[in-house]
Symmetry: C2
Subunit: 591 residues, 2 copies
């Protein structure tokens, strides 16, 4: 009953019509000659892999979980075999450079692939999901020796990676970390310390694991300016001797139970510096945008799975009479009861899911496309423009989509009634699995401060002007499109309000340092709602040019639903942002 | 680290000052002579039992879960022993009639007891939680034979009960149920059928289990008018032969894993009619209000546990610099990092939890007190008035408090960062356990329709006038209290808006049958927010008469926080209710 239909039609719509990616690709040498048939073929194959190989392992993997046996992590049955098939099909190399053995395809396709992997098996996808970030980090900052030795292994999928950041006393505040790196005199370092919450710190999918470890060099400055990044392999060579890297435990977690979350200890483990000494955080920043987009994607992926399964269930579940019936409804069921999809509360939930899911897909794929432009466009100005825009959108994608992923999964669960609480029906696992994405890769609270304080107020709102302008441009376009004027005037109002409120925040933060931090979460949510509004308006404009095709009719209908029922939340968020003078008292610990 | 401090101070505040229950008790013969010291003693003992006996079993019970072995359910280690102690302490009889062996104390105390039980171990509390409803049903509707035989066993806790309503095809729509009851000629019936989602359908806490089973008599009318209620014991007599009642399976669930959720089959099991034939739902309605208040209470109980543990953790967890520090802060930590409780996002979460938790406690205890008045006040008019009011407040308590229980637990989890996702820290279990309360005892969507369509619009808004009047009276009182005028004017605005919107709903529902159903969830949330506003205003008025006592200062501060930051949601809910002309399209199943 819990099944997956890859949303290929909507992905093609977003890529080809909403983002018109081929127009940009035609200007990028490595993408200019991409066969028109290749993209849908790749997406189709990815969807088949997700539905046929990963989805069947999802529920059983949750029940079985991971085990730590004699210091080695055993993943759930089937996970290793699925990874072998994933690797054999060449998926790890999809968006990597040909010079490292990659296929050189757009990151956009990799993101579409990962939406489908996360929809069907978030836990399994954790293992390979870290690889692309490690690839980007090594490509940008590693020495030739490290690149030559390790990049091909990452690209081929022969080795997987882990990101070793967190320590017990250093979570959101990495400046507090204590792991040490001692020079060994041969250009390598001995790494010693304990890391926690390491996804894929150990597993049985690959023989070697390449750990990216944050540590302090001797005499490094305190705080975040004294942190360096090292590559520490599980084995110094293929099939070689252990390197003092040990998994000391795995966590019992709320969800993603098939993903091993490890306590890792490094005991004089040999490692190599990546990038400059004490510039470890900067070296990792190169992958920050794509890594956070990938986490936002998980929120979208869970909401998609919740949506399509809830819709099927609601159409089949016969329960109670409905006050009103659709004109297309057939004869009544003998009992007088009807599919619950006729019920207003059920329709509202399903439409909310659809509007957020499809809007977020447009947003996430837009970000992925911007990452490609920032990386590969021949014109420096286009690269810089894309980079600035995706840097602003990244915290929105990460926090907005993952907050929604959890909230919408829970809303969907409600449609199953008691069945929703039972493991066999799938949705309760989605709720549990989706919860982690609000926390890792920077909590959603940190995303909000990153957006408002660092990125918007940080430059006086200058770069954020591109997003404000984007809203205004879509308002113009709607006002000039038959049937879309209502979207135009609504966006015009949102544009004015967003301009005004951003200017106020920039101005007032100068004298009230806490104000922006207090307002950050509401501001991020506001931006997410308005940006989704522009994407829905654009979808409606495109759909307006089509006739009675049900796909485009649904787009128009959902755009109206979004503007009528979901975008109004923006008003409440604005008011919350503007509640500057309302006290936020200190909270005392219990006496 | 996950511990429980019973909120006794706040309970006493609500009972003695906010509700002034002793003024009403003095008019009720069975409560008039209650020793002033007895109530705090009982609450203190209840808190000790919850903290010392139940809390330590909560996490382990979740990991162990229930097992079905040779047709018998085994509960987690320690559950049986805890029940023995619970029974020996006389807790099952607390609010039962002395004539059945009860202690005759107010339901108010039972509700306070159950808040503490649910805070510390929701799963364990499921077993005994059903008993009081069974007691009320038998007391109101059962024959003298059944009362004599079974009531003392329920009151003493010798036997526990289950409620057997749901069948696979009959969840929210009980009219579809198929279990049959055949007269046996001796006044008893043979019950045959399958029930699902039966909490405590089997267990090892008591030898006998008294099942209350909905079934159809021969030739019963179809639908809900053909349903009768039967008492079907697991054993026909103490230690006696089995009665054809079998547990065919237990569910793997998201949470409350220590509570056995059973598939029960009845195979010609001997049962006795409770109440009139075909009037089974009416017989169960007698316990509907108290049962739903008890579920709303679970939402409060989880939020309380989340709140107090999050507060302790936030005060201890040192991470990052804060932009502003409280005047009472001591020297900075050597690292420069500080307790996260200084962070604005953390304070907002904690204050939100505190404001909802303490407001909901006032609401739930008010309902419990109204149940006592409806049951026991000597004046029929006072009984009727209390009954009408609690009938209106019950769906609000059930849906509002359980929606909040889940949302607030999840908000609290976020404070722990990655630790929040790990079982050892307690909060992830709270999130999972709290989710069921939004579903069972009538989904929250059904509560909303019950409130707006059946209870408000059903009588043209007449009885609901008592709640509207309650808001107005509190506005009056605040306007006449020094320092509370701001609450008064805010409540005055809420009162006017609530009156107007209710009148509109009553008027428009006559011509637009779906409108009220669509608006129901937002209306219920609106009522919850406004009612909590009146209770917070009242708390602030009481606190205004006290000096610098920290308890009352916190009440004043939290009341302001509620009005400044939480009550504004009412505006968004009103606008949603009034979005009458915005389409809510039909949703098609995937092609």
């Amino acid at each position: 009953m819990w099944t997956y239909l890859p949303p290929l039609r909507d992905m093609r719509f977003v890529m080809d019509e909403l983002l018109e990616v081929r127009r940009d690709w035609s200007q990028i040498p490595r993408f200019a000659d991409l066969d028109a048939d290749l993209v849908p073929q790749i997406l189709d194959e990815a969807g088949k892999f997700a539905a046929a190989v990963l989805e069947p392992l999802n529920g059983p993997g949750d029940l079985e979980g991971c085990r730590l046996e004699a210091g080695a992590v055993r993943t759930p049955a089937g996970f290793g075999d699925a990874y072998r098939r994933f690797r054999e099909a060449g998926w790890p190399s999809l968006a990597c450079d040909p010079e490292s053995g990659g296929q050189g395809l757009p990151q956009l396709l990799n993101v579409a692939l990962y939406e489908m992997l996360n929809s069907t098996n978030h836990a399994w996808t954790m293992y390979s999901g870290i690889s692309h970030g490690a690839y980007e980090t090594l490509r940008a900052h590693a020495s030739e020796f490290l690149k030559t030795t390790y990049l091909p292994k990452i690209v081929s999928g022969e080795a997987l990676s882990s990101m070793c950041l967190t320590e017990p006393q250093a979570g959101s505040d990495l400046g507090l970390l204590r792991t040490r790196a001692e020079p060994l005199g041969d250009g390598s370092h001995a790494i010693t310390g304990t890391k926690i919450f390491i996804s894929g710190g150990d597993h049985d999918l690959t023989d070697n694991i390449l750990h990216l470890v944050l540590a302090r060099l001797p005499d490094a400055p305190v705080g975040t300016r004294g942190i360096s990044l090292f590559l520490v392999p599980k084995r110094a060579s293929d099939g070689g001797a252990p390197n003092g890297v040990r998994c000391d435990g795995i966590e019992k977690k709320m969800g993603i139970k098939g993903s091993a979350t490890c306590v890792m200890s490094f005991d004089g483990s040999k490692g190599w510096l990546i990038g400059e000494p004490n510039r470890g955080l900067a070296a990792m920043f190169v992958m920050m945008n794509s890594a956070r987009v990938m986490v936002g994607l998980q929120g979208l992926a869970h909401a998609e799975m919740a949506y399509q399964n809830a819709l099927r269930y609601a159409a089949e579940r016969i329960q109670s009479r409905a006050v009103t019936r659709p004109p297309t409804a057939g004869e009544r069921h003998p009992s007088g009861a009807e599919p619950i999809v006729y019920q207003p509360a059920v329709r509202r939930t399903l439409l909310t899911l659809r509007a957020f899911v499809e809007g977020e897909r447009a947003l996430v794929l837009w970000c992925a496309h911007l990452l490609d432009l920032a990386d590969s466009h021949p014109e420096p100005a286009r690269r810089a423009e894309a980079h600035d825009l995706v840097s602003l959108l990244t915290p929105v994608v990460k926090a907005f989509c993952t907050d929604n992923g959890f909230a919408l999964s829970s809303a969907a669960l409600q449609l199953w009634g008691g069945y929703g609480y039972v493991h066999d029906y799938g949705i309760e696992q989605t709720v549990r699995d989706s919860r982690i994405a609000m926390i890792y890769e920077g909590t959603n609270e940190i995303q909000a401060v990153d957006l408002l304080v660092r990125k918007v107020i940080g430059d006086g709102g200058v770069k954020f002007g591109a997003i404000v302008e984007h809203v205004s441009a879509e308002a113009d376009a709607c006002e000039n499109t038959q049937g879309c004027q209502a979207f135009g005037s609504a966006l015009r109002a949102e544009h004015r309000a967003l301009s005004r409120i951003t200017a106020e925040l920039v101005a007032e933060s100068a004298t009230a340092p806490e104000y922006a931090i207090r307002a950050a979460a509401d501001f991020l949510r506001l931006v997410g709602l308005v940006v989704l509004g522009t994407l829905w308006a654009r979808a409606a404009r495109i759909a307006a040019a089509h006739g009675a095709d049900p796909f485009y009719e649904a787009k128009r209908e959902t755009a109206h639903f979004y503007f009528d029922h979901l975008l109004p939340e923006a008003q409440a968020r604005r008011e919350a942002v503007q509640r500057r003078d309302k006290a936020l008292p200190w909270v005392d610990a219990p006496g």
